[in-house]
């Protein structure tokens, strides 16, 4: 056992390191202050163009679609090295991580030729339009309707939880095209122009105060049938391939989220009625709990990397990541704020406690985003342990005749 690169991995890492050192420039240091959104978009586009020119985009994709045809380990190595810097990423993670693979897998050659190269270069930004107010965990119950009209489709409805919708040029959208088919059978996927007439994007403000997502309203938005992805009625299968990528993406502890070290720092400064906080058995046990969870997930990710490194598929243990990380964040933050008494309630910008307060708010959302705790436990139980699924009374009934039980 070791934690070292193979010789090939080491070579690639050295090459990436050198390129980043030569090109990341100002991003080797953290920005003096957070970028405004438009500045962030402009910087993201510039960095993406540089990466593309150097052959660091679509690293695992087939060469035929403009990728590099390399292994997942190459992508991971690039990501690891890139994440040591402060370059602006994020703008492309959904588009390149989920939308474009769907486009080149399910779109026509013409469509792929039109959209994939510009997406790779970062000239056009993509978003994913799946969730709806009535369709969260149960994504297949969406109601946004697409009706055929000659060579076109006309879309009406509403999507939610769309990242960067307001800065996107295109999106992939799953719509119901047959209300008389069972719920999973009447869906179809399309590419939609985010600037098309009838599109309206509104920000969603989260409980935590930030506004990282959007609602998107469709009013008679027209899409050419050539921009369909996959067959009519096959939208659920297309969406599943898209979502497989999401499950891999939403994973470990969010970068910069407070962990056991933050709790140790906070506790070190607190003298309680029953002695210094760092000497209290309950505090020490909570530090241990947090370490076990966070480091356990890190080590589990290393097991996955080890599998990838030898050309194998990672094991199912990856599936525990988010459910552990999100709840650990919430529990640890709440514990630390309790321990901090009044100082855990007042908001002091820039302090460790402010980070913990942010973590307490944000973790409540993280326990929901990309699969709730409950859905993820179902997935572990059913897909990993092979238990039977919950009864599904809605599976075979025409969507239009569904009556909730």
């Amino acid at each position: 056992m070791d934690f070292n690169d193979t010789p090939q991995e080491a070579d690639y890492r050295a090459q990436v390191k050198a390129w980043i050192a030569a090109n990341a420039g100002e991003y080797l240091n953290p920005p003096a202050k957070p970028w405004a959104l438009d500045d962030f978009v402009a910087r993201s586009k510039a960095w993406q163009a540089k990466k593309h020119a150097a052959g660091y985009v679509g690293i695992t994709w087939p060469k035929a679609v403009g990728g590099q045809g390399l292994s997942p380990m190459h992508q991971i190595i690039f990501n690891q090295e890139e994440s040591r810097t402060h370059v602006p990423t994020g703008l492309y993670s959904i588009g390149l991580g989920m939308c474009i693979p769907t486009v080149f897998t399910h779109g026509s050659p013409e469509v792929a030729a039109r959209y994939v190269p510009r997406a790779l270069k970062g000239e056009e930004v993509w978003c994913q339009l799946f969730s709806e107010p009535v369709a969260g965990s149960d994504l297949a119950s969406i109601r946004t309707r697409a009706v055929r009209d000659g060579d076109e489709w006309v879309i009406n409805g509403q999507k939610v939880w769309t990242s960067f919708a307001h800065k996107s040029d295109f999106g992939i959208v799953v719509c119901r095209t047959d209300f008389d088919a069972p719920k999973h059978k009447g869906l179809t996927m399309f590419i939609v122009d985010m600037h098309a007439p009838g599109m309206e994007v509104r920000g969603i403000k989260q409980m935590s105060g930030g506004s990282d997502f959007n609602e998107v309203f469709f009013t008679d938005v027209r899409v050419k049938d050539t921009h369909r992805l996959g067959d009519v009625g096959e939208g659920w299968k297309v969406a599943l391939t898209t979502l497989m990528h999401e499950r891999l993406a939403v994973g470990g502890k969010p970068r910069h989220a407070p962990g056991y070290q933050t709790l140790m720092t906070v506790a070190a400064g607190i003298e309680t009625d029953s002695g210094p906080a760092m000497e209290r058995a309950d505090v020490r046990q909570r530090i241990a709990d947090t370490y076990i969870a966070d480091e356990g997930i890190k080590l589990t990710q290393m097991r996955a990397l080890s599998a990838l490194s030898r050309g194998a598929m990672p094991g199912p243990e990856q599936s525990i990541s988010k459910v552990v990380v999100a709840k650990t964040m919430q529990d640890m933050a709440s514990f630390a704020l309790d321990l901090s008494e009044a100082s855990g309630f007042a908001v002091e910008p820039g302090s460790d406690l402010e980070k913990l307060q942010g973590s307490y708010m944000w973790s409540a959302g993280l326990r929901i985003a990309g699969g709730t705790d409950e859905i993820l436990r179902n997935i572990i139980a059913e897909r990993v342990l092979g238990l039977p699924g919950d009864l599904r009374p809605d599976k075979d009934t025409p969507f239009s005749q569904l009556k909730p039980l």
């Binding site: 409980m207 009044a342 179902n378």
Partner: protein, 365 residues
Amino acid sequence: MNFDLSDDAKTLKEAARKFLDARAGPPVARKVMDSSDTHDAALWAEVVEQGWPAARVPEAHGGLGLGTDEACVLAEEIGRSLAPVPLLSTMGAIEAILLAGTDAQKANWLPKLASGQAVGTIAWAEGDAKSPTAMPSLALSGGTLSGAKSPVADGLVATVAIVTVASADGPAMAIVSLDGVSREKVETLDLVRPSARLQFDNTPAEALGTATDWVKLTEQLAVLAAWEALGTSDAARDMTLAYAKDRVAFGQRIGRYQGVKHKLADMYILSELARAHALHGCWAWSAGAAELSPAAAAARVASLDALKYTAEESVQLHGGIGFTWEHDCQFYYRRNRQIVSALGSRSYWADRLVRALEQRNRAAA
């Protein structure tokens, strides 16, 4: 055996519920959040009109002379409705004066507090990680006080504060008119019940009772806060229960799934445990029983457990919508933090509970 609220208290509770259902609740809380208001002044005027601040004030001082049962149900209903009024802070100040005030102090302050002419609050926190019974940095000196207290709930609207001060026997209380005391808003996690930093600068202050009184007051406040937390917790649960009966996923109301229904059952279990201890605290307080020490601590701990679990899992069971600014889940999630910090955390009170049990065991030995 009659381990239950008095009939009068039940009648008051029903009336309070009806009034606050109509006049308060999340939309009213949201109005305060979205404004720079310190509270809902119109609602406060109506609450005063209802005579609630006067509840515990003796008739001789212009009050209604009601018992602890009535105080507890008011705390519960204010907690449930999130009503943005300084009632509980004022009631805290009234209890301090009832417990420890001289005749003159009572005669001076109680009529004003009962009539809404004065608004009270309790100021013990000093912005750090200290507990309510740790020694304060402020001290009375020549009839004046200097230094800061923060965060003080309703400190922006209060006109009189019970301030903890250092004494040879431990923290003790002073009563301070806030006329001319400089105060500023403290940003906190609760956006509906604003807190202030009070800066005293040779501010005239009168000693109020002894260090023992402050310890006892924290027990009475713990009982009141337990009822408040219980009301807040039950409101969050009821909202979530309604959602679970309505929301559909995979062809079923989500409330059919054991993953959802068992969480709601756990909320109920925690709430009923808390209610049993809150009742016990109310009894011990009204009976003047030595049992108040463990009973109040247990009520505090059990109610914090109920509120924390319910506030957190309410967001969870609502899913994405529960995490939006527009949804009411955030009020309970944030208020949980306010209620924790207002009187000392769970671990602090669990420790006090065990100290009370140890004392009882020693006394019985």
